[in-house]
Amino acid sequence: MTDTPDYKAESPTLEAWRMFRRNVPALAGVVILTFIVLATLYGTFFYSGDPYNVVWAPHEPPGVTPEFPLGTDYLGRDLVAGLLTGGGPTLAVGAAAAAITMVIGITLGSLAGFYGGWVDNLLMRITEFFQVLPALLFAMVLVTLFSPSLWTIAFAIGVVSWPQTARLTRAEFLKIKELEYVTAARAIGARNKRIIWKVILPNAMPPLIVSATLTIGIAILFEAGLSFLGLGDPNVMSWGLMIGANRDYILDAWWPVTFPGLAIFLTVFAVSLIGDGLNDAFNPKLRER
């Protein structure tokens, strides 16, 4: 009998990572995102230039003058400097909004899912209430009324996007709560708090991680939308603001709108690829393929 290799058991996360590694689009997403984040954080070291400075004639086409490879905007400001400094606020707002969404969403969702009864009923009515509000419209009202700054935008996006996460968390909690290992934990005397944090939440994490990644994408698009409408923080250079500011000259110069649009697209595209990759990796059904 040939010695049969022992049938080594893999932890689900390890197996998910192995599945994720084999998923080409997801890896492409990771590469793109890392490039963008690095460019945003360290770009300004290598490429000096204040995005607000009028440095050249307006609407200089890309690739004409060596110092300004991507050309200039309607005021004659360097687009490369704009893209590099614009990335920071866009990503920051995206991440902050996603964080706020996850915190509110998970807290309310877990409480509703775990305790059930009137708690669940009340929280779900609140969730539905926020879901009825058209997100962008409500965010616009919030941002205009409380004067646009990065934090008001992040908060506004968070306030309108948490219902989805809350619903997801609640569904996961309802499902996991019934499983034996939770009853087992309860049997050995674990208190509710411990069960929520240590037992149920870790198992509910996979779909939540996926949703968190996708929320970052949604938040970035949201911020871009608000800035495009002119409701972004006018004194902070962000990609959406660049598009909104140059939009009136689109017929004269297509690049000041196209490059920031491309930057937003690449970031959200990368984030979504990663999100999909995580989703397939964590999804047991797809694993046998």
């Binding site: 879901q131 058209p134 962008l136 009202v141 009324l145 994408g217 196209t258 697209f265 984030v271």
Partner: protein, 325 residues
């Protein structure tokens, strides 16, 4: 369909909408900046007495709760108050614009569901095939591109460089007097670009969702039974499988409605589409609070109605739920 379920659902919807009205009223009143200066500002050359007369006229100096009471009372009687900017009742302003928004949103929804589900089903046939990879990547592209950027690019491409489609608006004013058929054709001609721009975003969600839902359904026993009966693969896919896979898609279509309205706001602004979204945007820039409130109210009403319709159609579509309250 038990009517008690319907009544409860509609009643609950009304409570939600009332909540929206109260929340927005309070929110706007709490915000900094005095609406009177805005109204006066618009007219230029305001004196203190003019500001005072405006406050009086718009009831701005009464205590908050009283103002709220008056406002809710009016809303229940269908009077959404006067627009600060347009000097017209808000209700008539919105009435002119609710049609175009619904037309845009419904067309975009249908387009994204049809194309999305079709792509999803194709992808589901061979989960690891090339087509499946293409669908998910293409779908993600559609989802990741900022909608206003797509809109602008489409205008440049298909209205300026290749002038096949009009660059703005819902109908050409020249054809106002024309017969119904030409006018419908003209509106459809204006509708193509905006509807497609709005549809692209949700195409991705539907493609991904229908792919996952189809994969799950294709693994079930009744599909094997259908094949064992000798049914053609096309029948198995589009009749047996899709009919079941459609149920979760239906739910998402309902939930998606709120996002569609947000998306519509951006598309309407870019394409100058005379809908509620653009009215809301302009009103926000003009601090025209009654109109903002009006649009928020009607937008949430549309979402509530959409949710109720989804619930009803879901219960009708799934025999297992039919009849149960």
């Amino acid at each position: 369909m038990s009517s008690s379920f319907l009544l409860r659902r509609v009643g609950y919807g009304l409570v939600l909408m009332l909540g929206v009205v109260v929340l927005n009223f309070l929110l706007i009143r709490l915000a900094p900046g005095d609406p009177a200066t805005v109204i006066a500002g618009e007219m230029g050359g305001a004196t203190e007495e003019m500001l005072e007369s405006i406050r009086e006229e718009y009831g701005l100096n009464k205590p908050l709760i009283v103002q709220l009471g008056i406002y809710v009372g009016n809303v229940l009687r269908g009077n959404m108050g006067e627009s600060f900017f347009f000097n017209q009742p808000v209700a008539s302003l919105i009435a002119q614009r609710i049609g175009p928004t619904i037309l845009l949103v419904i067309t975009a929804q249908i387009l994204s569901i049809l194309i999305g589900v079709f792509l999803g089903v194709i992808a589901a046939r061979k989960p690891n095939g090339v087509m499946s990879g293409f669908v998910s990547v293409f779908a993600t592209i559609g989802y990741a591109v900022p909608v206003f950027w797509t809109g602008i690019m489409l205008i440049i491409l298909f209205a300026s460089v290749f002038p096949f489609f009009p660059a703005e608006g819902m109908q050409s004013v020249r054809l106002r007097g024309a017969d119904v058929f030409t006018k419908t054709l003209d509106i459809a001609h204006h509708l193509v670009l905006p509807a497609f721009t709005l549809a692209i975003i949700y195409l991705a969600q539907y493609a991904r969702l229908s792919r996952a839902s189809m994969l799950e359904v294709l693994g079930s026993d009744y599909i094997r039974t259908a094949r064992a009966k000798g049914a053609a693969e096309k029948t198995v896919l589009f009749k047996h499988a899709l009919r079941n896979a459609a149920l979760p898609i239906l739910t998402v279509a309902g939930l998606q409605f709120g996002n569609l309205i947000s998306g519509a706001l951006l598309v309407e602004t870019v394409f100058n589409w005379p809908g509620m979204g653009r009215l809301a945007f302009d009103s926000i820039l003009r601090r025209d609070y009654p109109t903002i409130m009006g649009v928020l109210f009607f937008a949430s009403a549309m979402v509530v109605i959409a949710n109720i319709l989804t619930d009803i159609s879901y219960r009708w579509a799934d025999p297992r739920l039919r009849g149960k309250s």
